[in-house]
């Protein structure tokens, strides 16, 4: 197990290094002069020179890369050119919208998908199964930003149950949760559809296994065998998908945050890209990639802890 964790850890570090090089290259090397790119075609030469000095563009590329990485390791993500504040402060403000939104959406997706998937698998081929599978086909095919528009039209404009957008802050937790509800539903629906399908097929695989037949032979009813043995084992592939979905939800909120005017990380990236504030873009993308890689690592480890067979596989 220790060997396995060490191996994963090395591959985690290598992934992070390569990812940081790729991000740095795309943002700071490919556009040519990032300062000129950020300021646009009509910028005055002295403004460009000032930004070049602030970004340290007069230094060699390698040195700039190392400064960027060592800065991030110490919690210094640079200073935003448009907001004139440290990027770390921007991130710590926005994360309190994006993270709760992702958790909320993941929670919704799980509480919809688990019962749906288990029910469909236990009634395989029946009317309930066919209905649920049909619904998941729709759920996978609906663009979530369109679904968000429809939700706003129905629940904010027509029924006036929710506000159409904005975020009141966490001073009033109930209001805050309420304002995240429509966005969370819009984000959760396609994920719930995928998760329900995975849950169903994973459970069907388990129901065909010998140990279920053994459990039934020992006198357990179908229902008991399902809940005591099949569901627990079927959770392993489901957990991976949940891990992947969490990082997707954290990063994938960009468009949804945009629609609901939520001041989250996605909206920060989007606004920074529009304002060509590459310093912010670079650090936030790196942070998101870091979280994704970290979550995948955690899922791998959790996996190996649950199922020793996986420790030998690569």
């Amino acid at each position: 197990m220790i060997r396995y964790v060490l191996g994963r850890l090395i591959s985690l570090v290598i992934s992070l290094i390569v990812a940081s090089i790729v991000i740095f290259a795309v943002i700071e090397v490919i556009p040519g002069d990032p300062a000129a790119f950020m300021l646009g075609v009509n910028a005055r030469p002295d403004t460009i020179a000032a930004l070049r000095a602030e970004m340290g563009l007069d230094q060699p590329v390698i040195l700039r890369y190392f400064n960027w990485v060592t800065g991030m390791l110490q919690g210094d993500f640079g200073r935003s050119w448009t907001y004139k504040t440290p990027v770390a402060d921007l991130i710590s403000d926005r994360i309190w919208v994006s993270l709760p939104l992702a958790i909320y959406a993941l929670f919704l997706s799980t509480i919809i998908a688990f019962p749906a998937g288990i029910y469909a698998a236990s009634r395989r081929g029946g009317a309930g199964d066919i209905t649920i599978m049909g619904a998941t086909q729709l759920g996978v095919a609906i663009p979530n930003f369109w679904f968000a528009m429809i939700l706003v039209l129905l629940f904010a404009i027509n029924l006036r149950w929710f506000s159409a957008g904005g975020f009141p802050g966490w001073d009033n937790p109930l209001q805050a949760i309420k304002s995240l509800t429509l966005p969370a539903i819009a984000l959760a629906l396609p994920q719930a559809a995928i998760l329900a399908r995975v849950m169903r097929s994973s459970l069907l695989d388990m129901l065909g296994e010998d140990f279920i037949r053994t459990a039934r032979a020992k006198g357990l009813s179908r229902r008991q065998a399902l809940w005591r043995h099949a569901v627990r084992n079927a959770l392993i592939p489901v957990l991976t998908i949940i891990g992947l979905q969490f990082s997707f939800l954290l990063a994938g909120g960009i468009i949804i945050e945009q629609i609901f005017f939520l001041p989250g990380l996605g909206r920060l990236i989007f606004q920074s890209i529009s304002a060509r504030d590459l310093i912010v873009v670079e650090s936030v993308v790196m942070l998101l990639v870091f979280v994704v890689i970290l979550v995948n690592f955690a899922v791998d480890i959790a996996y190996a802890a649950v199922d020793p067979r996986l420790r030998t596989k690569t």
Binding site: S11, I14, S15, V18, A19, V22, V26, I27, I30, P31, F37, Q137, L138, V140, A141, I142, P143, F145, W146, M149, I150, V152, L153, I157, I194, R197, S247, F248, L250, A251, G252, I254, I255, Q258, I259, I269, F270, I273, S274, R276, V281, V285, L288, V289, V292, I293, N296
Partner: protein
């Protein structure tokens, strides 16, 4: 034939026909604006109504189908053209450093939040249909690389491959002449799924203004235009949304149907 395949391919065929027909004929010219006739609900004159410029929505849907299909199809093409050879190479050199490098590279691409990177690419290189294709295509590469490697590995253990090796064929020739033809089914099914994901991705990118630029019609931008009008003219948001939904649904059903029809044993992942 099964039900999924029939419904799915019918839906897909309808959109392909609409897109093909748009090269020769659309009910109205979408370049000409007719402001006095704006935001009309669906009627005999405009079957799906008109938008905020008085343009016929059916004509826009037809032209938009062309954009969506073209972008998604080329993006799948990029993914297959680069991903499949990489996967075949990794399988042919199974266990080598090259195999390891290709697979770790795949993991790395998967680790990037795809939408963020797509936005980044189009932001750095400019918003256009071509950059949208590249952004979507890049994320198709690891999907096909992983799948083709996984499909090729068990094939390499088979006797007919051994026979080919005894005949002195090189790994490259074996990969092309024997491995590849045996996994086309799988590639077709996964290609259909990636095609549908491409349609969704193109719609998302053009919705936030980073896909095809005006005057090229696109479903995503029709939705973006409809955003502020949704309460006064709901059809402007409903029609393009249903177009995306039905096209993606059709492709997904067709993919599932093809999988069952071509080979009931194969499993395709929907990432």
């Amino acid at each position: 034939m099964n039900r999924n395949l029939i419904i799915g391919s019918t839906l897909t065929a309808v959109f392909l026909l609409l897109a093909a027909a748009s090269f020769f004929w659309t009910p109205y010219d979408i370049q000409s604006l007719d402001i006095p006739n704006k935001l009309q609900s669906p009627s005999g004159g405009n079957l799906l109504g008109t938008d905020h410029f008085g343009r016929d929505i059916l004509s826009m849907i037809m032209m938009g189908a062309r954009t969506s299909i073209a972008v998604a199809l080329v993006a799948v093409g990029i993914g297959m053209a680069i991903g499949v050879p990489l996967g075949l190479l990794a399988a042919a050199r199974h266990g080598s450093l090259l195999d390891e490098l290709i697979m770790r590279g795949n993991d790395l691409v998967f680790a990037f939040p795809s939408l963020v990177i797509a936005i980044l690419i189009t932001a750095v290189f400019g918003a256009s249909a071509v950059n949208a294709i590249i952004a979507i295509g890049i994320f198709n590469i690891p999907v096909f690389a992983r799948l083709s490697r996984a499909a090729a590995l068990p094939l390499w253990e088979r006797d007919f491959i051994l026979a080919a090796r005894v005949c002195g064929k090189s790994p490259t020739r074996i990969s092309i002449e024997h491995i590849l033809p045996n996994m086309t089914n799988l590639m077709i099914v996964q290609g259909t799924i990636q095609f549908s994901l491409g349609i969704l991705a193109e719609a998302a990118l053009s919705y936030i203004g980073l896909g095809a630029q005006p005057p090229t019609a696109s479903w995503g931008r029709m939705l973006a235009d409809a955003q502020t009008l949704v309460s006064i003219a709901p059809h402007t948001a409903l029609v393009p949304g249903f177009a995306i939904l039905l096209m993606v649904l059709g492709l997904n059903l067709m993919g599932d149907g093809l999988r069952d029809w071509l080979d009931p044993r194969i499993r395709v992942t929907r990432a």
